[in-house]
Amino acid sequence: MPQVQEKSDLISSPPHIKSGDSVKSIMWTVAAVLMFPAAFSVYIFGLQATLVTGVCVISGIAAEFLCQILMRRKIKVLDGSSVITGLLLGMSVPPHIPLWIPALGTVFAVVVFKEFFGGLGANIFNPALAGRAFIMLLQPLEMSSNWHLFPNGSVIANKLVTAGNFTSEAFLSITGATPLTILKNGEKFALDYNFSIENIYDFFITNNILQSLIIGNAGGCIGETSALLIFAGGLFLMWRKIISWHIPVSFIGTMALAAYIYYYNTGNPLPGFLTLIHVFSGGLFLGAFFMATDTVTTPLSARGLIVFGIGCGLITFLIRIIGGYTEGVMFAILFMNAMVPLIDRLFKPKVFGV
């Protein structure tokens, strides 16, 4: 019989078994899942996309490592959280952005919004989003241009012929933008170039815009492109019980419902179609499945998570459709991040037997 007495760490408080999940395994699983849309973006945008996300990941890791050395903290780079931050930030910038901007954003995200707050677990805002907000304010123009001008093969820019009613000037300003920008500025376009808003809808429909958004070959940020891949990744994380359904469902559901009600009540001829464009475009999927589900910066209880998701959905709707910005996912999540302590206080589980 082996000598059990020789082992020194046999005694512990219960439980004596623990689940196989660890912080590390969770983080690296998320990072691995994010690799799929990241890899797909290379196919869509070319090597430039890899360069952007690669630079972000590397600067994230380096920044965390240096920071932990300088702050004399335990080195925890291997927990994988800055890899996620780097990936998310790299995936939420335009593909042709000058590299230094997302790199700076990542460093800022990791150093200021994670390490200065006390490291992983103590941060209030999702680091990637906070970093993105930072560079958005720093370089607003670079962050809202530099889209990909699909030279050939892509849907939006490809079929000049079908764009019968547009002047070439109007066409360029449409195709150089993301579908959301077009929706947002539709009225203005129509006025400027002397055509009706219905022409734009026709343009969307004849160009199979929904299909492009779902598959991923429409203009947008690097990782925003394929709603399908992001959805699949999200489902996988749910199956692995790493994220729960509460936030994605309540976030996207609220956004869709609010948009539909709005379009319907304003007499829009295609409320369902426009709602779907909103659902599948921009950062909604990436945000709802990968950013708003960051456990550190979201509520604890199931009810709290649903409230959080509803809040995100409403704010996104307000910013995107009523407000002045094209994209509202980022600010919506950041704003709700700040609400978490309040939500946690209001939505506690009921204590049994009290």
């Binding site: 046999l10 512990s12 196989g20 660890s22 969770i26 604890l300």
Partner: protein, 420 residues
């Protein structure tokens, strides 16, 4: 399956929850199998009997399970008069007074075999004025890994039903619910078959439960089956329920039918590191080292050796510890099974919150304790904790949550004592 009788039995005087029994034998005495060797001191104590016939070779001061207590060592010799021969005549319990039946249980030293080893006679005599209406027979295994109740229900369904009938008579009620987890279909079938033969006025039913730990804990059971919430720090009797586990029902029957004292029990031997896991009938006082040997030895050094279940049991490193009435199982866990890792910062994943059966926020209680803010911790209701350890089990940051909640609870109790 019976394990062989050990050469020397180590029989501690405290095998249950409550006060230790007092030895009534001395060194050199010859005892027969099942003879009384420790007398219960009061209502919360339990008689202890010789598990083997033989000679008392010593009475030692031991410190088993962190309690200073006397332990009687018996060297086996002579005839097995209690378990060796089948009883020639069974007691006719139906025509006996309940007081006599209760006394038989008390004399036989029956204690809860689910893990807490609460004196059964005391459980069956609720304080005056309390009206009991339901007996819940807990056949939902108290913890993962443990399967001894399942085996007993499967092998002896009729005996279990008879045990329930006896228990109902003692309490003076007619309604019993046998709670079995829904993944134990054979046991459920066997029990339902056995129920067909009872009188219609006895309302014994089998209820299936979701098989999910901590379903077998008393508070959860009473809530799931009867929709009654047992207030914190109150026993289930106050809610009109007596909860007894299936193995104990079996022991009650043996005590009443053939005056058999509780000298053996079924334990689960399991874990990746033991060569022949299984359920074994073991005599009280058999030491772990002997059990290891009889079960084919270990495959290697275990990461943890646990007496009881993996969630609430205690880890031990002393292989000379004996099996006692409260020993529901002995687990030899590999490092792969224990999944211990370094504890890191909480990532607020909420898993501890969603898993807590008491509706607590373990991370907040633990966080307050770590900051030594005991008043804050106490305000989060640690008294509702049933010590199921689910929170620590699921925590990906491997934080010792249930342990810290336990500290919050202790400080709360200390506070009460200080304030009077």
């Amino acid at each position: 399956m019976n394990l062989p009788v050990p050469q020397v039995c180590y029989i501690p005087m405290l095998q249950h929850t409550g006060a230790a029994a007092e030895p009534v034998v001395k060194k050199g005495d010859i005892v027969s199998e099942g003879e009384l060797i420790g007398r219960a001191l009061g209502e919360d104590s339990v008689n202890v009997h010789a598990s083997v016939p033989g000679k008392v070779i010593d009475i030692i001061d031991s410190r088993f399970f962190n309690v200073q207590q006397k332990t009687v060592l018996i060297e086996a010799e002579g005839a097995f008069t209690t378990t060796g021969s089948s009883p020639s005549e069974l007691n006719d319990w139906r025509n006996k007074d309940t007081a006599i039946l209760l006394e038989m249980i008390r004399t036989s030293g029956v204690a809860g075999l689910g893990g807490d080893a609460f004196p059964t006679a005391a459980k069956l005599t609720p304080p005056d004025g309390l009206k009991i209406d339901t007996l819940i027979v807990n056949g939902a295994e108290s913890e993962p890994y443990l399967t001894s109740d399942d085996v007993i229900m499967n092998t002896y369904p009729r005996e279990i039903i008879e045990g329930i009938q006896i228990t109902l008579k003692i309490i003076g009620i007619s309604k019993a619910i046998i709670a079995v987890e829904d993944n134990k279909k054979p046991a459920i079938r066997a029990l339902n078959e056995a129920i067909k033969h009872i009188q219609p006025e006895e309302k014994i039913s089998v209820k299936q439960l979701q098989s999910k730990y901590p379903q077998g804990s008393e508070k959860q059971l009473v809530y799931t089956l009867l929709n009654r919430v047992i207030p914190n720090s109150e026993p289930p009797q106050n809610s009109g329920v007596v909860v007894i586990n299936a193995g104990t029902i079996f022991a009650i029957r043996e005590a009443v039918l053939f005056n058999k004292p509780l000298i053996d029990r079924v334990i689960t031997v399991s874990g990746d590191m033991i060569n022949r896991p299984g359920n074994y009938k073991v005599r009280m006082g058999t030491r772990i080292s002997e059990i290891i040997e009889e079960c084919g030895g270990l495959k290697g050094v275990p990461g943890r050796i646990v007496i009881g279940g993996p969630m609430r049991g205690i880890s031990v490193d002393d292989m000379e510890l004996p099996v006692i009435k409260s020993t529901s199982g002995i687990l030899f866990l590999s490092d792969k099974e224990t999944c211990n890792g370094d504890s890191v910062s909480c990532i607020r994943c909420g898993r501890c919150v969603s898993v807590c059966p008491s509706g607590l926020i373990p991370r907040n209680i633990a966080g307050a304790v770590e900051k030594r803010e005991f008043d804050l911790a106490a305000s989060f209701h640690p008294e509702a904790c049933i010590m199921c350890s689910c929170c620590s089990y699921v925590c990906p940051a491997k934080r010792p949550l249930s342990y810290l909640v336990g500290i919050a609870l202790e400080s709360l109790q200390a506070e009460k004592v200080i304030k009077g």
